[in-house]
Symmetry: C2
Subunit: 158 residues, 2 copies
């Protein structure tokens, strides 16, 4: 596979079926996480039925976006640190150990942007900090602890 | 409306459209949260397309279930404390201020149970602690901070 502009296209088949971000999931959100300078970015426009209270996005969608975006971001930051981002054909796979979401304001059902940094970046553990916004309004923040799955261990992560 | 065995049936219309737990959402999960002694319980069976890595549930589904179940649980615990659970026709509405999820093990795509207590129960703020399990295996835990929406303020929570 040629180098792709979003990291989920580099996930191996076991991860390509994720409802949140798998390119092979016919029902899911198909989130696409890209490098943008020193940050990572994912953009998504909710459907009208993704409502929670009133005309705002339901909390589970916010958490789901932060989760998948954080896993993709961890892979990107790890690849940059290990100097194998350019021309990569397979991304490392990270799973979430802990997810924290602060709901600051209701999130309108409009185009949403998630933008992240990696305040901690280790060999096996990455912490990703995320701001989720609509226009210039930050409506939620997230912090996720991701752990790298050993190569070839995807089917045995239990 | 007569007393219902699950709290989401007592939500006012603005909350009945939630993708996670709204009875009026034609696309969503329709989670149902019930009192069970001193606990609350929600049960849900994921679809095959709710996969994350391999054949396990995606993290966003876990977070989404804990979020909606916690909001419903907060309403139940609050109503019990305020002695208006029996015969209630409308439940108070809680929104999530903060959500924490610890992913302990992969969650199989099998019937899932969420069971909660309320370690903090105030007039406007409730903290809900949740164990999410498949069979006897606890695969995730959650902690959510919920805030009660003032009556009549649902459309103005921004």
């Amino acid at each position: 596979m040629a180098h792709s502009p979003f990291v989920q296209a580099l996930y191996p088949p076991d991860f390509a079926r994720c409802y949140g971000c798998g390119v092979d999931n016919t029902h899911g959100h198909h989130l696409e996480t890209r490098r943008d300078g020193a940050s990572t970015v994912t953009r998504f426009t909710p459907q009208p039925y993704h409502t929670g209270a009133s005309d705002f996005a339901y909390g589970g969608l916010i958490a789901s976006m932060i989760d998948c975006h954080s896993a993709g971001s961890a892979a990107i930051f790890w690849m940059i640190a290990n100097e194998n981002w350019q021309g990569a054909t397979v991304a490392p796979r990270f799973v979430t150990a802990r997810l924290e979401v602060n709901y600051l304001k209701p999130t309108p059902l409009e185009p949403i942007e998630l933008r992240s940094s990696a305040p901690e970046l280790g060999e096996r553990k990455v912490v990703v900090a995320t701001e989720l916004s609509v226009g210039k309004l930050v409506t939620a923040t997230g912090r996720a602890v991701l752990v790298k799955v050993p190569d070839g261990n995807i089917g045995r992560i239990s």
